[in-house]
Symmetry: C2
């Protein structure tokens, strides 16, 4: 089948990772400023070339951990972008992934890089390199869909949180206000969370109960 070997080894395989988190009450993605020639000054999603000794998945995982020093980050393959001219350097087929990090993981961007790294709210993205606008768009769609029919919201929150914080997250990603009582009724019906014996302290108003997710693995549940 692969006789004319070299003729077909024309492309480089890369992975691109759209890393999501919530910051300042908005969904954010992590971007890197491009330092070199044709895209200098533009921003791109983290990524890199796949090495011969690595699977595509492990390459994505490595790229993720280069940015976020954290374990158990949710990572899922998104889509493969295979247009011919998507990269001016040459033929690069990119397998895109998306990842979800909780708020508490945000400060971990303190890994040192030669270029600058920053979070951007998805409503105000800078000029993007390559087809990364398209990739981020696809990732948002997928994330939004998954949050409506699975419990992966647990990836977006720290270990302990209040029900209002949980509700706020859903409102942010779903772009709509939810009724507090109905929301809590549903959350309860699915046993999504369990109460801890702790409360928020030092806040101006009545302390809120802190909750944890009862299950921290992906499950299909018809939330919204």
């Amino acid at each position: 089948m692969i006789k004319k070997d070299n003729q077909y080894k024309f492309a480089v395989i890369a992975t691109d990772i759209v890393i999501f988190s919530v910051k300042d009450e908005e969904l954010n993605v992590l971007l890197i400023e491009m330092g070199k020639k044709p895209f200098k000054g533009l921003w791109a999603v983290p990524g890199g070339l796949v090495k011969p000794t690595k699977t595509v998945d492990s390459s994505a995982k490595r790229n993720l951990h280069n940015m976020i020093k954290m374990k158990d980050v949710y990572l899922e393959q998104l889509y493969t972008f295979g247009k011919i001219d998507r990269d001016p350097y040459g033929r690069v087929v990119s397998v895109a992934y998306f990842a979800i990090v909780p708020d508490s993981g945000i400060h971990l961007q303190t890994v040192k890089h030669d270029t600058s790294v920053d979070w951007f709210p998805i409503s105000r993205l800078p000029k993007l390199a390559y087809d990364h606008g398209e990739i981020i768009h696809a990732a948002c769609e997928r994330l939004r869909a998954k949050l409506t029919y699975t419990n992966i919201m647990y990836c977006l929150l720290p270990e302990e949180f209040t029900l209002s914080e949980l509700q706020k997250r859903y409102e942010i990603v779903l772009y709509k206000k939810l009724d507090k009582r109905n929301f809590r009724k549903k959350i309860g019906a699915f046993n999504l969370v369990k109460k801890t014996d702790k409360k928020t302290l030092g806040k101006p108003h009545r302390p809120a109960n802190l909750f944890q997710f009862s299950k921290k693995r992906p499950e299909i549940i018809p939330l919204f």
Copy 2:
């Protein structure tokens, strides 16, 4: 970025296409018998290498049309399989797709091939080459999911059909019996189909009205 060019051009990019149709009241996939060495006698999903001058999508489309001489066949990217040893010939990263062909397209398998080509019900697949078992499994899951929340059933049926045939299709892919009256109520509520002035003829029993889909483009609708 791509300095050590050749070092990274280690892999071949391929596409594999899981082609679905319904036959004998079951969901079927199209398979090709392998003629050569390590997988001789096993069966595989159609596919082929991506050429330097082609996008990944167009390569998939071409592979599909090599098998099914038909226009407007539904084709969607499924997942990219990038394990190191998935192909004994060498490093092949495969971008898998799935396609949906209506019953009337089934006879079009009469394209001539050096190897044999056949439809297999997904409940009784033969021994499969490569990781194609995994690929077919993923494709089934995706197809089933999409049929529950979109209208893509129109891809699986001929131009005109009876409501019973439509219901039967859903029962086949969802693995469960549906109530006839509730089914028709829902189909009606979404304006999924429109009646033609034709009826089935020559059948043993009462003739049924023939219907068409009102829209033949993918749409999100919460069917089941």
